[in-house]
Symmetry: C2
Subunit: 428 residues, 2 copies
C-alpha cells in the first residue's frame, strides 16, 4: 500500500497483528488468482489497484467522508436500498464476509453448521480485522434466511459493531409482502434521515437512484459483452467487478467498468478473448461470493473453461433490475425502490419461479454450455432450491453440476475433479 | 393390533413390506423405552393402547370419518389452527416426522444437511409408510423455517400427498406480522370451508375453540402436577401424552389425560412418584420431538434424572396459551385465534425474548435443577437461539447443557456421557 494506514486501523480498533496476517494472505491469494491470468483487459489494472488498497485508500475515503459529516452504512445483502443511503449523502459499503477467518471465535456464538458467510462476518468482527465494519456508523441487517435472522440477534453486541439496524423482509411475493417491503424501506428512510441529519427530497432521491442505476447499467454492459465467443474477459475478473461494486466509490466504479467495456468492445470486434474460441462456457448460479471467495471460479477457469455469467447476488441477480425514477413524491419514489428490490429472486422467497427462468435466460443469452450451481454449505434456501434448479435445467437439456462447499480449500481437489468431468460432459 | 388393517393400508397406497418393518421397529422401540419404566401411572395404559394401534385403529377412525364426509387435515406445525379444522367437523392430525426412516430416499431431494424432521417427513412419504399422510385430504404447511419453507415447494409432488396448502407466517411480532397471521388464518378458513363444504359460524367456531382449549387445559393440569417432588410421572410418559395430543380423537384424549391427572393427584398427595424424592430434575427446552423420537428423554431418565417439563412445540410451547372465545362474529373469533397463535414463541421469530422468559419461568415452576437445550441438527433457528438461551440461563444460575443431535442412535453413548456429567454438576 502506498501509505501507512496503521494509525487509521488502530483508531478503528483493529487487531493490527491479525490484520497484517489477513492482508498478507489476501494479497498473496489475489496475486496468485488474478495476476497469473493471461490476456487480462488493461482496465483491470484499476481493480488491481482497488484490491491492493482494499483496506487502505478506500477505508481512508470512508474516514474522510465521516470527518466531513457523511454517514457510512455497511451491509451484507442486496436488499439494503443503496439509493436511500446515497440520496442522504451517505456511503454504502459491503462488509467483510468471504473468508474462513476467525471461525474458532465465531463458533463460540454460532453452531458449526452455520453457513460460511455468517461465520465469516462474525469471525471478521471477533478477530477485529474488518475496517469497513468499524467504519460503519450503521450496519443494516435483514431477515432473509434463518441463519442471518437469528445471527443478527447476537451480532449487535459483537466487536466493531457500533449500531445494528435490522429490516424485516417478506417471504412471499404477495401484495402483503410488497406492502411490508414498502413499509420497511420507509422506516429505513426515516432511520437514515435521522442518522444523516438530512431529509429525503424528490431531487436527492432521484439523484441517488440515478447513481445506483448508473453502476448497474455499467454492469449490464459488461455482462452483455461476455456473450461473445471467445469471451473477452474472464469470469474471475467479472466476478471481481461485481464484488467491488459493493465497496467502491460509485462514480469511480461506474467509470472504470465503462472504460473496461470500451476496451472489451474492441476485443469482441477483433475476435480476441481470454480463452480460445469454443472453450467450454459456464454459467455460475447460486449463492453470493464475497471477496476473497474466488475458489470455485478459479478452479473452473484453471480447467480451461470460461465463466460467462453469475446468477448471484454478487452478479446479475443483484444488478439486473434498474430502479424507476418516476414519482412526484418521496413516498412514490420509495415505493418504486421497493418495487425494484421486490423483483430480486433470492431463494429465501417461496415460491421463487423467476429465478429458474432467469438462469435459463442467462444460459441462453451468454451461450453457456452448462450451469454450475454453487451452494454455500448449510445455506438451506439455495441448497434446497439448487436441487430443483438442477432437475429443471437438466429437463431443459442444460447440463448442470451442483457444488456445495464452504470457503476452505480442503475440498479444492475434489471440486476440480468434478468440474473436469463436467467440462468433459458439456463439450463431449 | 386387534384387526387386520392390511387392506386399509394397501388402499392408502402404503408399501406394506416396508410398513411392516417400520411397525415392528416402532413396537420394539416403544416396548423397550416405555414398558420397562417402573411405577407408571395406570392411566398410561390408554397411551400404550394408542401406540399399539398408532397406524391401526386411529387410521381406521380417520377412514371412517372420511367415509362419513368429514375431511382430514394433516400438519407438521403448531401454527396450524386446529380450532378451524374442528369447527368444520374436520379431523386434524400430526404427520409422521420423528424417525430416521427413508433418509436415502429423502436425500435425493434434500441436501444431507437438512434437519432430521424434514428429511424424516420426506422419508415417510417416499417410502410410503405414513398412513396419516395418505389419509389427509389436505396437508397444511407453513413458512416457519427456511428448511420447511423451501422443502414444501418440493413436497407437494411427493408420494401420498394429495393436496398441499402452505400458509405464510410472519418473522417479526409487529402489527404487520399480526395482520399477516390474521389474513392467512382467514384464507385458511376459506380454504377449509370450501374443502369441508360447510360454513364457519360463531357457534361451530366457539365449539372448535372449546374442544382444543379442553385438550390444552388437560395438558396444563398434567404439567402442574409434575412440579411435585417426587415427580408423579416420567418425562417420557408426559412427552408421549404431548405427542399423542397431535393424533388422537380430541375428546378421548382430553378424558384420558384428565383421568391420569386424577390418578397423579392421589400420587402427589401420597408423596409417591416415579423417581426418588430429590432425584435430579431436568427441564428440556428446544426443538419438538415427534413420535418415535424418544432418544434424549430416554437417555436422561435412564441416568436417574426425571424430566419435569418440555419447553417445546410438542410440549408447553404448543399448549401454553388458550384461545379466547370472545367474539360476536366469525372474523372476531378468527382474529382471537390468530392472537393466540401469535404468542407461540417459536425460534423462527426475531427477536424472541418471550421464549427465554418462559424457560426461566418453567424451570422455576417445576423446580428444575437444570435445563437441557435440545436442538435438531441443522435447525438454524433453535441451534442459534440455543447459544443465547444457554448463556442467559447460566447467567441466571440455571445450569444448562446443550445437546444438538439427530434421530440416529449413533451418538447415544456420547450423549449419555454428557448427560451424566451434567447431572453430577446439577446435584453436586
Amino acid at each position: 500500500m502506498s501509505e501507512d494506514y496503521r494509525p487509521m486501523w488502530k483508531g478503528l480498533g483493529l487487531d493490527l497483528e491479525t490484520h497484517d496476517a489477513l492482508l498478507a494472505a489476501l494479497g498473496a491469494g489475489y496475486a496468485q488468482t488474478f495476476l497469473t491470468q493471461k490476456d487480462r483487459p488493461e482496465g483491470m489494472k484499476y481493480f488491481d489497484f482497488v484490491m491492493s488498497e482494499v483496506h487502505g485508500l478506500r477505508v481512508k475515503e470512508l474516514m474522510d467522508a465521516k470527518a466531513a459529516g457523511r454517514k457510512v452504512v455497511g451491509s451484507f445483502c442486496v436488499y439494503v436500498p443503496e439509493e436511500i443511503v446515497l440520496a442522504l449523502d451517505g456511503v454504502h459499503v459491503g462488509l467483510c464476509a468471504g473468508a474462513e477467518f476467525g471461525y474458532a471465535e465465531a463458533e463460540r456464538f454460532l453452531p458449526r453448521n452455520t453457513c460460511g458467510l455468517i461465520k465469516s462476518f462474525f469471525g471478521f468482527s471477533l478477530t477485529r480485522v474488518c475496517p469497513y465494519l468499524s467504519a460503519s456508523d450503521l450496519v443494516v441487517g435483514e431477515n432473509t434466511c434463518d441463519g442471518k435472522k437469528k445471527a443478527y440477534e447476537i451480532f449487535k453486541d459483537m466487536p466493531l459493531v457500533h449500531e445494528l439496524y435490522v429490516m424485516d423482509l417478506p417471504q412471499v411475493k404477495s401484495e402483503r409482502g410488497r406492502a411490508l417491503l414498502v413499509d420497511e424501506y420507509t422506516k429505513f428512510a426515516r432511520k437514515m434521515e435521522a442518522l444523516a441529519g438530512r431529509k429525503l427530497t424528490v431531487d436527492n432521491l432521484k439523484e441517488g437512484i440515478a447513481r445506483v442505476n448508473a453502476k448497474r447499467s455499467a454492469m449490464h454492459r459488461l455482462a452483455k459483452l461476455r456473450a461473445a465467443d471467445p469471451a473477452p474477459i474472464s469470469g474471475l475478473d467479472a466476478l471481481l467487478a461485481n464484488q467491488v461494486f459493493f465497496y467502491d466509490d460509485p462514480e469511480r466504479f461506474t467509470g472504470s467498468v465503462n472504460a473496461i467495456c470500451d476496451e472489451l468492445e474492441k476485443r469482441v470486434e477483433a475476435g480476441k478473448g481470454v480463452a480460445k474460441k469454443g472453450a467450454p462456457r459456464v454459467l455460475v448460479s447460486g449463492c453470493p461470493m464475497a471477496v476473497p471467495n474466488w475458489k470455485l471460479p478459479s478452479i473452473v477457469e484453471a480447467c480451461g473453461a470460461v465463466i460467462v455469467g453469475e446468477e448471484s447476488c454478487v452478479g446479475e441477480r443483484g444488478t439486473r433490475n434498474l430502479t424507476a425514477d418516476k414519482g412526484a413524491t418521496v413516498e412514490a419514489l420509495i415505493a418504486g425502490i421497493a418495487d425494484r428490490y421486490f423483483q430480486v429472486d433470492c431463494a429465501v422467497f417461496t415460491p421463487n419461479p423467476a429465478r429458474l427462468e432467469h438462469v435459463k435466460a442467462m444460459a441462453d443469452a451468454y451461450q453457456a454450455d452448462g450451469v454450475i450451481h454453487y451452494g454455500i454449505q448449510f445455506c438451506n434456501p439455495y441448497q434446497i432450491e439448487g436441487g430443483v434448479v438442477e432437475r429443471e435445467l437438466e429437463k431443459a437439456k442444460i447440463p448442470t453440476l451442483r457444488i456445495d462447499t464452504d470457503y476452505s480449500m480442503e475440498d479444492a481437489g475434489q471440486i476440480r475433479t468434478r468440474v473436469e468431468a463436467f467440462l468433459e460432459r458439456i463439450k463431449g
